[in-house]
């Protein structure tokens, strides 16, 4: 519980301003803590008279913290392809492993993984644990979870990273829960704390309105999922060497109660917008399904993919897999061009990590311009054709 020392509190309200959860009120010159308190500790640090402290139940510290060593990356492989985020994670994983003076290992699970293990070594892995079996052709939480859980229990890595993809965000929480390990979702920054080597995991909260840094002080492994397109992959270095270990798979690990009958890859329409470097998003301002033709054309000219606001998806102009925002996908492309999107906070939450944001909207007061690096106030149906032809002209 958050305890207020009544003798020390001066009722200055600094803690009220520092509470992101609106949990503190000052009544009769004294801070009072409400039910919304999450014990995040932001107020404790902010209090200038040290009147606040957190009293918790006694935490039991896992006895063998120091025997957990090494940085691991779960490298996603689906339908014959390594997910790009896997290589990005080996990039940050390499940095973390070097900072800790430990090895970087990749875990590859799937069927017919071919040359993937060599590719992971060329991108920074010292060791690849490969579980390649026909029974692992399709992803299931049970089989992939069983393989990763067993490997972690056997080899005891201190850090386990995975992409915050549909697959990573599904089975990694199950693995972490089985292990009793701390897991932080959707990290955008990872660092090693200098004094004790702990993993500092930073993620956006409240739709990106605040950032929170999270640690796992009492247990191992420390687990994180990381958003695609945030970390940088290392350049391929074919001269790198590493060790390939084929995992012994017990029959029980390959059994699942959930059966995958069919895997349908969307062919005509690129829906994996989280992996795209360039996204063109369309909103209510497009006025109709046909309006999206312009968005597709612009996306094509930029070699990018099509995104949409909730308004456009709710109007059935485009499918839900394209929706960006709080109830859709979170994306972090290099370039996001918002066309006819007003910029409601729910949409902005899903795209504000883009490197460069362009907004095109006829309403100069639209909030999208508050997050845009470049804005054009104008009619989409006039601006977009000109933009497309200018880009195409330049590429010739």
């Amino acid at each position: 519980m958050l305890i207020v020392d009544k003798d020390l509190c001066v009722g200055c309200e600094v803690c009220v301003d520092n509470c992101a959860f609106g949990a503190i009120t000052v009544i009769d010159g004294l801070a009072v803590v409400g039910d919304a308190c999450t014990l995040c500790g932001a107020c404790v640090d902010s209090c200038e008279v040290e009147a606040l402290h957190i009293e918790g139940g006694e935490k039991s510290v896992q006895a063998d913290l120091d025997s957990w060593s090494g940085v691991w990356v779960y490298c996603e492989f689906r339908a014959g392809l390594l997910a790009p985020v896997s290589l990005e994670l080996l990039g940050i994983g390499r940095k973390l492993a070097d900072a800790r003076g430990v090895k970087l290992s990749a875990v590859l699970i799937g069927s017919d993984t071919g040359e993937s293990a060599a590719k992971l070594i060329a991108h920074g892995a010292d060791i690849v644990y490969r579980a390649d079996n026909a029974a692992l052709k399709y992803f299931t939480d049970e089989t992939y979870g069983a393989v990763l859980t067993k490997l972690i229990q056997e080899h005891k890595p201190e850090v386990v990273l995975a992409g915050a993809t549909a697959i990573g965000r599904s089975f990694i929480p199950g693995v972490a829960n089985t292990l009793g390990a701390g897991l932080t979702a959707d990290c955008t920054q990872l660092d090693i704390r200098a004094d004790d080597g702990a993993l500092l995991q930073t993620r956006p909260a409240f739709g990106g309105n605040i950032m929170a840094t999270i640690v796992c002080p009492h247990s191992r492994p420390q687990m994180s999922t990381v958003r695609p397109n945030v970390m940088k992959a290392l350049d391929t270095d074919a001269s790198r060497s590493g060790e390939l270990i084929d995992v012994d798979l017990e029959p029980a690990m390959l059994q699942a109660k959930v059966q995958v009958l069919e895997s349908v890859i969307s062919e005509h329409d690129d829906v994996n917008i989280q992996e795209s470097d360039i996204l063109v998003g369309g909103g209510r301002g497009l006025e109709s399904e046909k309006g999206f033709d312009l968005i597709r054309e612009l996306a094509k000219s930029l070699n990018g993919s099509v995104a949409a606001s909730r308004a456009a998806v709710d109007s059935k102009w485009i499918g839900y897999p394209h929706q960006v925002g709080q109830t859709g996908k979170t994306v972090a492309p290099k370039l996001y061009i918002a066309c006819g999107i007003s910029g409601a906070i729910q949409h902005v939450a899903g795209m504000q990590s883009a490197e460069t944001i362009v907004a095109i909207n006829r309403d100069a007061e639209a909030p999208i311009f508050n997050v845009a690096d470049f804005g054009i106030v104008g009619d989409l149906f006039e601006v977009l054709p000109k933009l497309i032809s200018t880009i195409e002209g330049r590429q010739k």
């Binding site: 999450t38 139940g57 599904s170 309105n209 605040i210 804005g375």
Partner: protein, 259 residues
């Protein structure tokens, strides 16, 4: 069919704003709502009940005022509301929350199916659903976008993937998390509203469910927030000027590195 739907009361995102002067969240006047994904989980539960018969229990963990979302769920077709609430839960991360919910589910009794929203819009972790299934030792499937077949024994469904979808089949018991493509939630009926007013919400505490003090709240949470800070500001913003042709030219020049 015995179905349990997990529901969270969350602040309405459209009301949450960053105060530009203090860089803190201005939460005055922020309304509490039912987590949007959970509305779709509830709708699917009620549809399955209508098709196959049975009972829908809604379960929430939160402060006493979370009772409101349980009443709202009853007005939309749920039969029974259970709230697990205790000051000792404060500071719970997703592990401690899954543990606590599992204890509450065991108290509620037998079930065939548990439905949850994909994630809550205040935390966005998507970890409690899978965690709850692990605690209950049942299989789980996340991001269900369509139920193709449902009978007393099993379900055939589509789960959303990054590159399309997988068609999956499973027998009960199972826990599912759902995305909003799944269905269109109904609005409460007049009869439902009357029922929700009279409904008695069952209240549970940590002691009622036999929760181990070392597994709940801050003590039961492997993760700890050590710092909260405003996001780094974006660079200078520029509204381009000139006629449309000139603006387009300027924009394309600025975007040269991406072309």
């Amino acid at each position: 069919m015995k179905i349990i739907v997990c529901i969270k009361q969350v602040p309405d995102a459209k009301d949450v704003r960053l105060d530009p002067e203090t860089n803190t969240l201005a939460r005055e006047g922020v309304q509490s709502i039912m987590n949007p994904y959970d509305q779709h989980a509830l709708e699917e539960a009620v549809r399955l009940k209508e098709q196959l018969g049975g009972e829908v229990t809604v379960l929430s963990m939160g402060p006493p005022q979370a009772e409101e979302v349980l009443r709202q769920a009853i007005s939309c077709g749920a039969d029974r509301g259970v709230l697990i609430s205790d000051r000792a839960f404060a500071g719970a991360d997703t592990w401690a929350t899954s543990y606590t919910l599992a204890k509450a589910v065991n108290k509620i009794g037998d079930f065939d199916l548990i439905l949850c929203g994909k994630q809550a819009i205040d935390g966005d972790t998507a970890q409690v659903g899978p965690g709850l299934a692990i605690q209950l030792e049942i299989p789980f499937i996340t991001c269900i976008q369509k139920v193709r077949e449902a009978d007393e024994k099993h379900l055939v469904m589509e789960r959303m993937m990054d590159d399309g979808y997988d068609v999956v089949s499973v027998q009960y018991p199972v826990l599912l998390t759902v995305v909003k493509d799944l269905n269109e939630p109904r609005v409460p009926s007049l009869k439902g509203k009357m029922k929700s007013k009279k409904a008695k919400i069952e209240m549970l505490t940590a002691a009622d469910v036999g929760a181990d003090a070392a597994c709940i709240g801050l003590a039961g949470s492997p993760t700890q927030v050590v710092d909260v800070f405003p996001p780094p500001p974006r660079g200078e913003r520029a509204i381009l000027t000139g006629n449309i042709d000139e603006q387009v030219e300027q924009l394309v020049a600025k975007l040269a590195t991406y072309l």
